[in-house]
């Protein structure tokens, strides 16, 4: 009798097990990149790359800093000189005739300034201040920026871009190569680059995010291609500092510009 009861219980328990809902999926393992990042360390190169920079500009800045003749010159002057060198010797030579026709764009014509229109990809990916990297599911990472409270979604399953016109931030797919997150973005609407040139909707960007060995900084190397605007790719860099206490605060008080002057340039 007891053997029969045991058998029944075993069968019932096997049936119960086979009908139990599957266990919840394991949360994806956090990568080394996840968390909150913000403005770069207060170093000369970090400050030069506050928005974005290139190796050509960094090398020029370091050469200026290493020249004793510049020791008494204020840093902003050296920074401006390195930025000009970067423009004249790296960016301009890579631009096509078509893009050079309107370069540099008048800062007073910036849609963000005139109409509070958020940035497109080519500026947003270098936005100053906070960047939060968050793995939201097995196949999705969100990049949340303080500037404009913009959110970019990076799909890790390689899905194709949705049908329809290109969008402001484009369609991004990503993969990990070791600890480096590689993000490829296309289908970006025509807009303005970080160096204030026009770009077409043929823009393609490959971003590589890597955390430093000491964990304190996040490096972005972005390769930007645009057959309409660029003769050859522009490789741009940016640095963020690990900032777990930082928060992204509401970006809700933008007012369209009403009083301004045309034809100025940044100091």
């Amino acid at each position: 009798m007891s053997i029969r009861l045991g058998t029944v219980l075993l069968v019932l328990s096997a049936v119960a097990c086979s009908q139990a809902p599957p266990p919840p999926p394991e949360p994806p393992a956090p990568s080394k990149l996840e968390g909150m990042w913000s403005d770069p360390p207060p170093t000369a190169v970090g400050t030069f790359c506050f928005f974005s920079c290139t190796d050509a500009g960094i090398d020029r800045l370091n050469a200026l800093l290493d020249d004793p003749a510049n020791d008494k010159r204020p840093f902003p002057q050296l920074q401006a000189e390195a930025a000009k060198y970067q423009t004249d010797n790296y960016l301009r030579p890579r631009m096509t005739e078509a893009a050079l026709k309107t370069y540099p764009l008048d800062p007073a014509d910036d849609p963000g300034f005139l109409r509070c229109e958020p940035w497109g990809l080519s500026k947003q990916m270098f936005a100053p201040h906070q960047l939060e990297i968050r793995r939201v599911s097995d196949d999705q990472i969100d990049l949340r920026y303080g500037e404009w409270e913009a959110v970019r979604t990076v799909y890790l399953d390689g899905r194709a871009a949705p049908a329809g016109p290109p969008s402001r931030l484009g369609h991004s797919v990503g993969r990990f190569e070791g600890d480096t997150l590689v993000v490829e973005t296309s289908r970006v609407a025509a807009g303005i680059t970080w160096w204030d040139a026009q770009h077409s909707d043929q823009l393609r960007v490959v971003e590589r995010f890597t955390r430093s060995d000491d964990g304190d900084t996040l490096m972005l190397t972005a390769t930007i291609e645009d057959p309409w605007g660029l003769r050859e790719p522009v490789v741009a860099k940016k640095i963020w500092r690990w900032a777990p206490d930082q928060k992204i605060t509401p970006y809700d008080a933008c007012e369209p510009a009403t009083e301004f002057k045309k034809g100025t340039s940044e100091p």
Partner: protein, 149 residues
């Protein structure tokens, strides 16, 4: 109501003079970075918002008439990095503010420095950044002059 009208006219402007520290648009169409002016008055409002924090203050002009001045700061995203919060500047405070004047408006400026009634100074985060860079430059210069081992 007048204050509100003035406030609504405020442009969302970048505060930048010595070191570019990024913002949502360029500084130059609105402010003259080559000039600075200083005004003395009483704070009536400080808004700690993005993309740019804003302050209204009442300032007596040379004829003794009270004018409303508008001071633009970097955004909250930026100022919090430098340790500022919504109470960093309080209505009713007597302050002296230095800034870059606007091209098109006579009572507006981009913040450079604020001195409180007790003499303490408030500077944007870029001042701390510049100070750290100058220390880095001193160390670089020192290493350059040291004989190679």
């Amino acid at each position: 109501m007048r204050l509100l009208r003035v406030f609504l006219l405020v442009l969302p402007l970048l505060v930048l003079t010595a070191v570019k520290t990024g913002a949502h648009h360029a500084f130059s169409p609105v402010y003259d970075a080559k000039r600075t002016i200083t005004v003395d008055g009483v704070v009536t409002q400080f808004r700690f918002v993005n993309p740019h924090a804003m302050m209204l203050m009442e300032v007596k002009n040379k004829a003794g008439k009270v004018e409303t001045w508008n001071v633009e700061f970097a955004g909250r995203l930026n100022l919090e990095e430098a340790g500022w919060n919504a109470q960093t500047i309080k209505p009713g405070e007597h302050v002296k503010v230095t800034g870059n004047p606007a091209w098109q408006s006579s009572q507006r400026m981009a913040f450079v420095k604020l001195v409180r009634a007790d003499g303490t100074e408030l500077e944007p985060g870029r001042a701390q950044r510049l100070s750290a860079i100058e220390e880095e430059r001193r160390q670089r210069a020192q290493q350059r002059t040291q004989p190679a081992k």
